[in-house]
C-alpha cells in the first residue's frame, strides 16, 4: 500500500528500480522496454490500416470491402486454372497428333501421357482394376505379363475403346466360356477329370485318384477349340493361357470347377463414348507402362 515515504525502491543486488510489487518478499524489478518498441506497435497498426485500403478486409452486410487492388484469392485460383487448361490443351494436341509408338518413343510426350493416364485411370478404371491396377478375382491384373486380349499398345487401345463383351459397341470383342455344367454339356465326373487335367498342365497339384487320360480326352473334345491343344490359350478369342501361373478367378479347384459349371464372361465397358481419344491414348500408354506391356 502506498505510504508517504514510499518511493520507487532500488534493488540492492542489481541496482535496478523495483515496481513496488511484492509477493512473499520477492520484488518485481522494473526493466522497461525502450520507447521505440511502442512505436513499432503503432507502426504495425498503421500498416494494418494500409492493408485495409489495399486488400479486402471488412465484412459488410452482404459483401465486403474489396480494397484498391481488387485482389481475390478465388479469382487467382481461377486464373491459374485457366492457365492450366491452356497448358493441357497444348499437351493434348501433342498427344492427338502422335501415334502410340511415337508417344512411347518421346520422353516428353510419354511423361505427359503417363500423368494424364494416371489421373484418368484413377477416375475410371480403378473401381474394378484397383488403384494399383492389380485387379481382383474376375478383374484382370494389368501389371503382370498375362494378357487375355493382347498386351501390345494397339491391343490395349482397342480394349479400352470398344470394351469386352460390351453389347452396345458393335466392335466390342466377345468370347464366351460356356457353362458346361449348367447346360449339361459335361457330366460331373467329366468336369472333375477336365479340372485335374488342366491342373496337371498348369503345374498345380493333382488328385491322383482322377483319371488324367480321360481328362485329356474331355479337354481335347471341349476346351482345345478355344484354349488350344496344349492349353496355351488364344488372344483372338480371349481364351486365357491355362498353363501359366496366372489365374483370373484363382487357381483353386473350386474356382476352376465353378468356371466349368457356370461359364465365365466378365464385362469391360467400351470407353470410346465416354472418354476423348486423347485420354484413351494416355490411358493406353499408362497401362502399357505398368509392367506388362508387350
Amino acid at each position: 500500500m502506498a505510504s508517504e515515504s514510499e518511493k520507487p525502491a532500488v534493488d540492492a543486488v542489481t541496482g535496478t528500480a523495483t515496481t513496488g510489487h511484492e509477493w512473499d518478499g520477492i520484488q518485481e524489478l522494473n526493466t522497461p522496454l525502450p520507447r521505440w518498441w511502442l512505436w513499432t506497435l503503432y507502426l504495425t497498426i498503421v500498416w494494418s490500416i494500409g492493408y485495409w485500403i489495399v486488400y479486402p478486409a471488412w465484412p459488410l452486410i452482404s459483401s465486403h470491402t474489396t480494397g484498391v487492388l481488387n485482389y481475390s484469392s478465388r479469382a487467382e485460383v481461377g486464373q491459374e486454372l485457366v492457365k492450366l487448361a491452356a497448358l493441357r490443351t497444348t499437351q493434348a494436341a501433342g498427344l492427338a497428333n502422335a501415334s502410340l509408338t511415337e508417344i512411347k518413343a518421346s520422353p516428353d510426350l510419354q511423361r505427359i501421357a503417363l500423368a494424364r493416364g494416371k489421373a484418368a485411370f484413377g477416375d475410371n478404371c480403378a473401381p474394378c482394376h484397383g488403384g494399383a491396377a492389380t485387379g481382383a478375382a474376375g478383374f484382370p491384373n494389368l501389371i503382370d505379363d498375362e494378357w487375355i486380349w493382347g498386351g501390345k499398345l494397339d491391343d490395349i487401345q482397342k480394349t479400352i475403346l470398344h470394351g469386352i463383351r460390351w453389347e452396345q459397341n458393335p466392335e466390342t470383342r466377345v468370347g464366351n466360356m460356356p457353362a458346361f455344367g449348367r447346360t449339361g454339356m459335361l457330366k460331373r465326373d467329366e468336369i472333375s477329370q477336365a479340372v485335374e487335367y488342366v491342373r496337371s498342365i498348369a503345374g498345380l497339384d493333382v488328385d491322383k485318384a482322377v483319371d488324367l487320360g480321360k481328362g485329356k480326352e474331355v479337354f481335347a473334345a471341349n476346351c482345345a477349340s478355344c484354349h488350344g491343344e496344349g492349353g496355351k490359350g488364344n488372344q483372338e478369342l480371349g481364351a486365357p493361357d491355362l498353363t501359366d501361373a496366372i489365374w483370373l478367378y484363382g487357381s483353386s479347384r473350386q474356382a476352376m470347377t465353378e468356371g466349368l459349371i457356370n461359364g465365365r464372361g466378365g464385362i469391360m465397358p467400351a470407353w470410346s463414348a465416354r472418354l476423348d481419344p486423347v485420354t484413351i491414348k494416355a490411358l493406353t500408354v499408362y497401362v502399357h507402362g505398368l509392367g506388362g506391356g508387350q
Partner: protein
Amino acid sequence: MTTVDATGVANADYDPRDDIPLYAPAPKVYPQRVKGRFRRIKWGLLIACLGLYYLLPFVRWNRGSSLPDQAVLIDLERKRFYFFFIELWPQEVYYLTGLLILAAIILFLMNAVAGRVWCGYLCPQTVWTDLFMSVERFFQGDRRDRIKLDDAPWSFDKIWRKAATHLSWLVIAWWTGGAWVLYFADAPTLVMQLATLQAPMTAYLWIGILTFTTYVLAGHMREQVCLYMCPWPRIQAALTDADALNVTYRYDRGEPRVSVKQAAKLREAGQPAGDCIDCHQCVAVCPTGVDIRAGAQLGCIQCGLCIDACDDVMRKVMRPPGLIGYDTEAAVVARDAKATPPARRLIRPRTILYAAIISLVGGAMLYQLATRSLLDLAVNHERTPLFTTLRDGSIRNSYTLRIANKRSEARPLAITVGGPAGTTVEISGASPSADWRPIVTVPADSSIEIKLFVAMPRSVATRSSQLIQIKASDLAFGESATVKENFFAP
C-alpha cells in the same frame, strides 16, 4: 493513505508507483572520434569485411560451359548453391546445419579466448554502424559539433548537413541491398539490368527491404540493436568466465578518481591517488554509450575504442597506459587482493572442448565433402502391390529409382541388380549395353526417375523378403553407386 504527489499537492489517489516509467529512455549517443591501435584494427576489418561483401559476387569460377561461372551463387531457380569448387544440391542442405554448428562453436571459442571480438569488430551491425558514423562525422563534425547541431534551430546549414548525411546513408544502404541480390543471380548481368531498370521485380523488392533495414539499423537503431534485439550479449554473458579477455577498467589503479592537480598533491603527501582523472573520454568515444568503469556489462561490445581514448589521455598526463585494457576477471580479482595477476590460461577445459568440437564437426564436414559421390541413388519400393506373379511363376517387384548426376556432363549408366542367380532387371525405354546391361543416360547436373522391374524365379524368391543391391555403374568415369532395398515374395 493521503500522500503528496509530484507537484506537492495532497492527493488521495496518488501512488508514487505511477511515476515509474513504463518505457526506458534511449538517449542519443554521440561517439567521439578516436585514434589508436584498436581504431586502426577496426578500420582494417571494416574495409576487409565490406570489401568481401561488395566484391565477392563479381569473382568468377570456371565450371564448364553448362554451369554458371560465378564463384558464390545461390541459384534459387535451378536449386543449386555454388561456392567456388563446391556445388550443393537442395538435399545436401545439412551442410548448412554443420556450418551453423561450426559458426556457433567458433563464436563460443572466440568468446572464451578474447571476449566479444565478434560484437566489437566483425558483426555487420557494428561494421555498418561504424561506416554510418564516419559518414555522419564527415558531414556534421565530431561529437561536440553534432550535439550543438542537434540543439541548434533549423537553418540552411543544419538542413544541408542532415540531408547530406541521410542521403549518403541511403545510398550506402541501397548498395548493401544491391550487393545482396547479386549473390542470387549472375552479378554482371544483374548490374546491367539494374542500371537499365530491367531487373526482375524481386531484385528491386529485396534491395528495397535491405535498404530500409540497413538505413534503420545502422543509421537510427545502432546500440539499441545490441541492447534490445540481439540475443548474443545474453548468451555470451552466460559463456564468459574468469579467464576470458574483456575490456576492463583497472579499479586498483584508477580509484580514487581525482583531478591531475589533486593527484599530484596527494602523491606528494604520500597518499593514494587513482590514475583515473574522470575525464569521461572513455564514455565519449563509446559507440554504445556505456561507462566501462562500471564493469563488464551487456551494453559493452568490447570494441576497444575506450582503450585507445584512455591511453591517449594517460600519455598526456604522464601516467602509464593500460588503465583500460583487455584483461581477465581472474587478474582483476588478484589485483584487488594485492596479488600478482595469474598468467593467462589460454588452454583450459572449455577452450579444449570448443576446439575439439570445431575440429570434429569441421573434420566430419570436410571428410563428407571430399568423399561425397557425384552420383546419387535413391530407391523407393513400390508398395501397391509389394510383388506381382508373372506367367512363368516368377516374382516381380517394382522400384522407383532416382539417379542424381552431379557432374556437368551427361553420363550413361549401366544398371545392374545383385541378388540370387536368375535375378533379372528390366527398365522400360533403356537400351542394352554390349553385355546386355540396361543403360540409362542422365543429363548433366540433373536427376531422373526411372521405373525398375526386378524379377526372380520362384525357386530363389523363397523368403518373404530379402535384400538386393541396385547398382549404377558409370561407363565413362568408372564411378558407381549402390543402394540396398528389399525384394518381397509371397
